[in-house]
Symmetry: D2
Subunit: 281 residues, 4 copies
């Protein structure tokens, strides 16, 4: 057996079926977007590698630091989150950590994992309004909020939190972005938009609807030019850490077939009273 990358003929069509810009290999050689792996190891951090793999170029260390903050800050929000509860329950069912992680990451859908993506999309809309109409951020935010509500309902993605009066992650992330803006690392456009949204929501409601983790990481993703849909994928990477941590802790705690509530409790049955097959019609 030899390794082939056919240059013509029907086998080329087969090899072409799996076409990628990401990774190239020859025996003894691996490169990612052109960079030999041995030149990356030791010189590029995990976060820089995440950037390279998903965007095709290496980031500056300063920009990578912002992505790093977005990734490290969203790893976990506790076992009340379905994804974390699933990871823990799965770990007691006789499957591997990889399987527990899969069942959990799988539910980071539009509702559970989508707010960050939606916040990026919302900021981008505001940004495009400002650019296309040559309007101030203040004006663009007012118009953007109206359009967002018309399209997607009253909740503004990235603002307000069911549990935290102020989400402690958001202000710290915004500080880091402000520093990066001051240092000329990012333009700061999305930073301004997000602050203006917060201000406008306060104006409208007469009480603060402060930015949450999704709103703050979306500023980072926006500043770094990361597409909204990819932002969801990056959130999945981030939350995978919490998922793994809880799956691993539960594995060490032991337990078998851990259900959602203690074993001596039953659920509430609201259905049809007991009935007889014979009289079913």
């Amino acid at each position: 057996m030899s390794i082939r990358r056919p240059e013509s003929g029907p086998e080329k069509a087969v090899a072409d079926w799996w076409r990628t810009d990401i990774i190239d290999m020859k025996p003894g050689e691996i490169s990612y977007y052109g960079y030999p792996i041995e030149s990356l190891i030791g010189n590029v951090s995990f976060t820089q590698m995440i950037w390279l793999m998903t965007q095709g170029e290496l980031p500056s260390p300063e920009k990578a630091k912002l992505l790093d903050a977005a990734l490290m800050s969203a790893v976990d929000h506790g076992p009340q989150a379905p994804s974390i509860a699933i990871a823990r329950m799965a770990s007691t069912c006789g499957v591997g950590l990889n399987n527990a992680m899969a069942s959990a990451v799988n539910v980071l859908g539009d509702v559970h994992g989508g707010a960050g993506e939606q916040a990026v999309t919302f900021y981008q809309m505001v940004n495009e309004i400002a650019a296309s109409k040559n309007s101030s951020i203040e004006e663009a935010v007012i118009e953007g909020l109206a359009k967002q509500r018309e399209l997607h309902g009253k909740f503004i993605p990235g603002f307000g939190h069911r549990f935290h009066p102020v989400d402690p992650r958001a202000p710290r992330l915004m500080e880091l972005i402000a520093e990066a803006k001051a240092d000329g690392i990012v333009e700061g456009r999305f930073h301004s938009i997000a602050l203006q949204v917060e201000k406008q929501l306060l104006n409208e409601k007469g009480k603060a609807i402060p930015m949450n983790i999704d709103g703050a990481t979306a500023v980072i993703y926006g500043e770094l030019g990361i597409p909204a849909e990819l932002a969801r994928g990056l959130f999945c990477l981030s939350r995978s850490v919490g998922i793994l941590a809880h799956a691993w802790e539960q594995t060490q705690q032991g337990g078998r077939n851990k259900g959602p509530i203690p074993r001596d409790l039953l659920w509430t049955y609201d259905g049809h009273p007991k009935r007889d097959m014979k009289n079913k019609d």
Copy 2:
């Protein structure tokens, strides 16, 4: 430890969190929608049980037979389907059959598993047009096709097939439905709509765009009053059979880390030529 279903207080709120009409239990007793399990076993087929579990009432045997045909006819369309290929590949990675099934069922999404659901929705739209405007099925189909294309593009879900000039499953299923209609088991409204769609597509195009498996099973789901979204779930049950069969065959064939193409072939790399970290800017 005793088993409790609390009748008041905070524990009731906890038990209420898991509220269902489907299943009730006491020690030694299990019932589904009110039917004790021991009265169902031996009297109700797997397909009737699927109906009861998803719709809350037992079907007549004649109606269950139609659902049975929809389920048995869609089990597999070969290893070129991503779901089946995934099931086979997963089985060589050192995970269980349950895990192989999960990775595969998971991809029965809007594109891979959604055509049946979309066809039910489309038929329902035609049916509602006819009902609300008191128009003939012929007129409603013309209007429905126009509306469908406006909303979702040129492909009509349930009609035409990339591979089969005539999908051999569709005419047989339509025969069964016609028999059920003749016997007064179903009304036959969706049967008429589907035939009229086929006729209209032929008129428009000058060549046949025949009904496929999704279009035919959607007639069954429509006749049986099964909601479109649930039809997707039932398709997932059906395709799970092919997924299991292929996972199991691959398990018996053996193999380790089976990739999508033979091991001596490589993919096509289209990306950046080799480059040096030092010159990266």
Copy 3:
């Protein structure tokens, strides 16, 4: 584009990579293990199709009825089971029914879904002891129990239940098997073994450790010659019904990001008291 099944050359190697006995296709033709689909539709039930797909031959209707009973009786055991809870939670996260089903089926691992498989293996071991030593079932069960405990610990798969003093599914299934034995449909060997295990456990303990659903369905799988590992796969199909039913019910109930306990409760934190980064060493 034409559809090719290459008969020689490198493309054959590619097509051979996906080699199966299950399904064959030509444009307009689909067959499963040699049976054209149009001859199966209307003549073969969903359960018979499950049998054909996983075992390569069509069963007699009488044997299929036993498999049917095994499948219909194990669909659900309530939302305290991790798989069912996961299905319900996933349905509130903004993913499809297919995704909710996948996350749930995925956890039917060695602990949550493996007891049936283990019970088949245990019965087979007893059966082989009896055959190889020409001993009575009574003797083989005593030896088999000892060996089982030596290999896998004190719990005998298929016997005893945490919740049910008597699992109401087991005696009804055993009745069906007894009838099939009386009618000469199955040999009844596994039926005798299972009853003898129950008797022996009573003798040993002085109290009944009655057969549960896994022990009873394992008798069916054993009588039908279904391999133990495949029995797990079939259980996954069966439980997929309950998973779908609960996912669908939860979808209709609505809710967003449903966690395992009511929203106003928190988990118990047992970890390190609050500490300061600066003093971390």
Copy 4:
């Protein structure tokens, strides 16, 4: 609604059901293993956070750098790996990036994702032999190899590669570990063991069976005191990056229901010739 963490009574039992050392919350406060999130953001890298979350303490930056290298070096080995192929195929089926990631991570099982875990276990066995018998690493490796083969067959996890004569990732990682050893950051025990295994395999076979990525990352995990099973989980995090990158690239390339081979090729059918239902017995 108020947020409660009950201190006694039955509600405490419910909250206790979800017991963790990882994360604590109050309204406006989140801490991980005691560290308030706002003190971690900006001060702790993603890799340090991964360490904290999975092991309960913050690592030194120097140790974190080694973990970082293990994580960044294993992200991808191309679309021939089942996990990567699955991610790409899933992305064309109408599911989200989270779902594509889940189907793919799920297959990082004992065969596809387990070599690193197995290599850690193997090194630990050698280490324990040396410690318990007070023997040299050379002697312990000889005994450990014999025991490994007796338990798990001829392949030594972490050594040899189907494709690469020398895996280019391994020597670079070993250089980093050697530097860390020279700087007193790690003890270097696993480094010595791994080199000795490589040497001994060369002696035995007369040709090099060089260390691969799994063997090299296992040295890092061993030096850092990371349990073998957790090493699998960390590999899943690492490979999730490649999985996301390929899922995202495929999303951008488009395509619908991408199967494993080009659409105009069929698989090889090896099964029963066409047959007739009527003559089925």
